[in-house]
């Protein structure tokens, strides 16, 4: 069975639509987005109002897609936006779905 990955992206909510598009363009079949709060290099992002809120995007995909998305995000957004990504191995039911 192919090893699948979860790729997690935490970033500014203003990027939501753009990233959703990017993810699908790079071959992922779906994603889950939740609102997030936290503190990092770019200061406290406490979701008090629209502008200051973060999202957490999770994608279950194969290694190739995971790498492609990560690289694209790194090249496109890392310089100018608050963004972190990380990934880990994951076991799923019905792995053909991803």
């Amino acid at each position: 069975m192919e090893q699948l990955k979860i790729l997690t992206i935490v970033t500014e909510s203003v990027l939501e639509n753009q990233i959703a598009e990017d993810i699908e363009k790079h071959g992922a079949h779906g994603y889950t987005i939740t609102d997030a709060r936290g503190k990092g290099h770019r200061g406290l992002r406490d979701a008090g109002w629209d502008y200051n809120s973060n999202i957490r995007v999770e994608i279950v995909c194969n290694l190739k897609t995971c790498n492609a998305i990560s690289k694209f995000l790194l090249d496109t957004y890392y310089n100018d936006y608050a963004m972190i990504t990380f990934s880990y191995d994951v076991t799923v039911q019905r792995s053909n779905k991803f």
Binding site: A47, G48, N52
Partner: protein
């Protein structure tokens, strides 16, 4: 002092003292939706009474103001403030555009003093909100191919502010004063209470911007106070001399030109000019200009409007 302003002060005090008070973000969303629709509805009802031929020159004049303001602000920021091109352009766009919150406070201020104003001015908020964004992007990047104009247009026209106000204007226009009567208790009678809650949250947000003020120093502080006075006076003079607005109307126009955006422009700039530091423009517009306008600016624009009328005649 007006209770709604005291709510703002309360928010700032609670925020600065790190209180746990916070409006849940969905509530804040709901409140801003109510405010935008109320303002739109009121404007739409009045708009229906205006002949289009008198409106058109006014709309064009306001549109022109929207293009000119950021062009005035940009060189000041770039050469005197020594900001990077992208930052100067982004701040200029914020100051060329408008703040609906400040607009709402100016209406409440005039209502309390029973000063007449043209209620269709909600339309000007929409008209004035947009050009500065386009100018800001062009100032930052030139007319460049990499700007995703499709995305920017989507953000500008379908963002919460413009979409709901235009929606409210249309509903008010089509339904007319009697039609809107049935929803008046929610949108009109509760207006000041909703505005008070909105200002409480704005106070909390303003307090959260104050810490970055220390970092960016005196230029931004001076700019955030002097620019609205200059733009506000300009708006008052244009309103009374070129557009023939009433005393209250000129105060509202002055408030609009003086105010700086903190909702539509930040989102649009973040997407189209990502290299601009968003903290700079938000510190200025939310941390300095918004509180200045609602506490000192609006009464000041009324005084300027009064003296303009005395000097030039109404």
């Amino acid at each position: 002092m007006d209770p709604i302003i005291l709510f703002f002060v309360l928010g700032v005090i609670l925020g600065v003292s790190k209180s746990e008070v916070r409006l849940p973000s969905q509530i804040y969303d709901f409140i801003s939706i109510l405010l935008l629709l109320s303002i739109g509805l009121k404007g739409g009802i009045e708009l229906a009474k205006q002949p289009f031929s008198t409106m058109l020159p006014q709309i064009l004049m306001v549109l022109a103001i929207g293009f000119i303001l950021p062009i005035i602000a940009f060189p000041i920021l770039k050469y005197f403030g020594k900001f990077k091109r992208a930052d100067a352009a982004s701040i200029a766009a914020h100051y060329g555009s408008v703040s609906v919150g400040t607009f709402a406070v100016s209406l409440a201020y005039l209502n309390t003093r029973e000063i007449f104003y043209e209620e269709y001015m909600a339309l000007f908020v929409v008209v004035l909100e947009i050009p500065a964004i386009l100018i800001g992007i062009i100032l930052a990047k030139g007319i460049s191919k990499e700007t995703k104009w499709g995305k920017v247009t989507h953000e500008v026209f379908l963002g919460k502010g413009v979409a709901l106000m235009v929606g409210g204007l249309l509903v008010g226009y089509l339904a007319g004063p009697t039609g809107v009567q049935s929803i008046a208790p929610l949108f009109f009678d509760l207006f000041k209470g909703i505005l008070a809650l909105f200002l409480l949250e704005m106070g909390l947000i303003t307090a959260s911007q104050l810490s970055s003020l220390k970092k960016y120093g005196f230029f931004l502080l001076g700019f955030g106070i002097i620019m609205p006075i200059v733009f506000g006076s300009l708006g008052v003079i244009i309103g009374s001399q070129l557009m023939g607005l009433s005393l209250g109307g000129t105060v509202v126009l002055g408030t609009l030109t003086a105010s700086a955006s903190y909702i539509a422009v930040p989102a649009a700039m973040r997407i189209s000019v990502p290299e601009a530091n968003p903290t700079l423009s938000l510190t200025a517009s939310l941390g300095i200009t918004f509180p200045f306008n609602i506490m000192i600016g609006i009464p000041l624009y009324l005084r300027i409007a009064n003296s303009t009328q005395n000097i030039f005649g109404a």
